[in-house]
């Protein structure tokens, strides 16, 4: 046999073995399909704090689902693939990212930004293409009857304050008035509007309210004016985490003795480091201390998974973003479909979803005109001696 023939026989033998090994494994491979889900978040720029927190939480849930063999929908099993896009907290970038995800990657589900401007720019694409868009931003107009494919997966200041202000009224009956400091943009205006309305509904008098430009770090001039009004508590819910800590620090430096308050989630370690533990004392916020008094098994598991994947310290801003993919996965499994319309109908129909914060549902028919706002328990915590202490939990009442 010549050298050439030997080589041909050898190659055919190898191909034959490979083919015969491949045939029995082929049906198994075919069962595991891939489901692409788009994700548009601010992964750089000033909103990156929230975008990267969302990315961590969503990635943890993706790993968990893929780790248990994938998403089971009917007889099919899907491996989740998240297509990450950076909107840079900018509407034009968000819109471009959505065009790419829808037209090139052909995704049917998009997890969305924390920027109202981005969401409003992306919605014409998602709604006209019947793409399920799960979002987080505070603007009221993000949810509307003519936007049935948009669901908000995180509580806004409206819902959180429905829980926190009644708690403040009950816990501090002597407090009578409140001052607001918010960033001067669409998000800040929207939050301030909610804050004012709900403060007044809960018998607090608004005695000061002023906006500041994002990027400001010296708040002395603004706070000097605020302190003269002597408010019982100062609410800066719309300010980013670092600004909140700076405002608390500078308020105390100027001699303010009242309470500081925020309806957003923050990292207590970071807050205390910037503000100084002494200046952070007594600060009330909507932060979930996963290892505190309200720990359930799911929260403990999230904490452990987080530390195993990202290491310490734990970022308490991340858990709320876990709800995005968690509810979507449940809705797909319950509906037995990956068709966005069927998943949407299921999300609307089911009365109780299981989340790490406990039972959740969608509401807002009266307030937003459509039942698309997630309702999860609101956790209220206070910083005591540099540590986060759980003070209460409330279920917001959203008509």
């Amino acid at each position: 046999m010549t050298e050439f023939r030997k080589n041909v026989w050898n190659r055919m033998a190898v191909l034959g073995i490979a083919f015969s090994l491949g045939i029995p494994s082929f049906p198994l491979y075919a069962a595991q399909k891939e489901l692409k889900i788009g994700a548009i978040f601010p992964l750089s720029g000033r909103g990156a704090t929230w975008g990267l927190a969302a990315q961590k939480a969503i990635t943890l849930k993706q790993k968990e689902v893929n780790g248990r063999g994938g998403l089971k929908v009917g007889t099919d099993t899907y491996k989740l693939e998240i297509m990450w896009e950076d909107d840079k907290y900018n509407a034009a970038s968000g819109r471009m990212a959505a065009e790419k995800l829808v037209n090139r990657d052909k995704v049917k589900f998009i997890l969305g930004s924390q920027s109202s401007a981005v969401i409003l720019a992306v919605q014409p694409i998602t709604e006209s293409n019947k793409i399920l868009f799960l979002v987080d931003s505070y603007a009221k107009e993000v949810l509307a009857p003519d936007k049935p494919y948009t669901f908000r997966m995180v509580l806004t200041s409206n819902e959180v304050l429905q829980g926190m202000y009644p708690w403040m009224t009950k816990t501090y009956p002597n407090m009578k008035n409140v001052a607001f400091v918010e960033p001067n943009d669409a998000s800040g205006w929207s939050i301030e509007k909610d804050c004012k309305r709900l403060a007044e509904q809960n018998r607090f008098q608004v005695i000061f309210s002023q906006f500041y430009e994002r990027g400001t770090s010296d708040f002395y001039p603004l706070l000097n004016k605020l302190i003269v009004t002597n408010p019982d508590f100062v609410d800066f819910s719309g300010a980013p985490p670092g600004d909140q800590a700076l405002i608390a620090k500078q308020l105390r430096e100027l001699g303010y003795k009242g309470k500081t308050f925020s309806s957003t989630t923050m990292d207590p370690t970071e807050f205390c480091k910037i503000a100084g533990a002494q200046n952070a004392e007594g600060h009330i916020s909507n932060t979930h201390d996963l290892l505190g008094a309200y720990t359930n098994e799911a929260q403990k598991k999230y904490y452990d998974d987080y530390i195993a994947t990202y290491g310490k310290p734990f970022d308490p801003v991340t858990p709320k973003y876990q709800v995005y993919l968690d509810v979507l996965v449940q809705a797909m499994e319950k509906s037995g479909s990956i068709d966005p319309t069927q998943v949407k109908d299921m999300m609307e129909k089911v009365d109780e979803w299981v989340t790490i914060f406990g039972p959740a549902k969608f509401g807002g028919k009266e307030y937003y005109g459509i039942k698309r706002q997630v309702i999860t328990p609101v956790y209220i915590s206070e910083i005591i001696s540099g540590k986060l202490v759980n003070r209460g939990t409330m279920i917001p009442v959203l008509p």
Partner: protein, 285 residues
């Protein structure tokens, strides 16, 4: 409103103004000598803050030594930026602008990649507050005011009286004539970039314990610096001081009486200055 309240408004304005002066002086110096709008100056300020953060928090270097080291490190970085990026485009106005913007974006992007998006802070160096005539000021702010005044005085004296400072002025006035007198234009530019960057580093290091440190500080700082130097006069150090203080006092008073409309005051002032004195308050025609 009491006299203590108004004194607090004055002190707030002084502090705010000195913050602007610190950032704007280096920016103005570069334009004055090199005719370059260095948009990367804000990023050098941000790196100065990060350098101090790392030295103080990770290496536990005492704050004042960290301040000095940050100035040296950022000066070194500024010289490298000049040597490898600005020098090839030295006499080309438009490309150098684009390069400056590109460097700003590059440094900002790298900082985000390396340091992450979270706000960091330097532990309080001089805790506590002091009261002067009823006005309250943290000790940290007093330190910033004192060091800023010292730095500005030293810079002014250096440029006015030292041999290399005089060489800088000569190069700024007429580059070719200065070269004919034996002044090394390239070495003067290198020195100018080093001093300007050191000032950015000092600003970052001084303000880091007061505020927070993150990779996004640069752009806001350079925009304020631009407003300050246009008001004071591009290229003029006394102009940067005057412009910074004027803007600081205006913002402090504006916040007290106008509220959020204050933010546009700086731009209104820029427009007025450009209309009636285009070279800036203390700039040369």
């Amino acid at each position: 409103m009491t006299s203590a309240f108004f004194f607090q408004v004055f002190v707030n304005g002084l502090m705010l103004g000195l913050t602007y002066v610190l950032v704007a002086s280096g920016f103005s110096l570069i334009y004055g000598i090199m005719r370059l709008l260095n948009f990367a100056h804000g990023e050098l300020y941000m790196l100065g803050a990060f350098a101090t953060y790392l030295l103080c928090e990770s290496l536990k270097v005492p704050y004042l030594i960290s301040l000095g080291l940050s100035m040296v490190l950022i000066a070194g970085l500024g010289i490298l930026v000049y040597r490898y990026f600005f020098r090839p485009f030295r006499d080309k106005h438009d490309p150098s602008l684009v390069i400056a913007l590109a460097i700003a974006m590059l440094i900002g992007g790298l900082a985000l990649l390396i340091f992450g998006e979270k706000d960091q802070s330097v532990s309080p160096v001089f805790p506590g507050v002091i009261r002067i005539f009823g006005a309250t000021l943290s000790r940290e702010r007093v330190v910033v005011i004192v060091i800023a005044v010292l730095l500005m005085t030293a810079l002014t004296l250096y440029i006015k009286f030292s041999k290399t400072g005089q060489a800088m002025r000569a190069v700024a006035q007429d580059r070719e004539a200065a070269a004919l007198q034996g002044i090394g234009v390239d070495s003067t530019f290198t020195l100018c970039m080093g001093i300007s960057s050191a000032l950015a580093g000092a600003a970052g290091a001084l303000l880091a314990p007061l505020f927070y440190v993150n990779p996004f500080l640069g752009m806001h700082a350079v925009l304020k610096a631009l407003v300050v130097v246009v008001i004071g006069g591009l290229g003029s150090i006394p102009g940067a001081i005057a412009g910074g203080l004027l803007l600081g006092f205006m913002e402090s008073i504006g916040n007290t009486f106008l509220g959020e409309a204050t933010e546009i005051l700086g731009f209104v002032l820029v427009m007025i200055v450009l209309l009636f004195r285009p070279q800036g308050l203390l700039g040369h025609g």
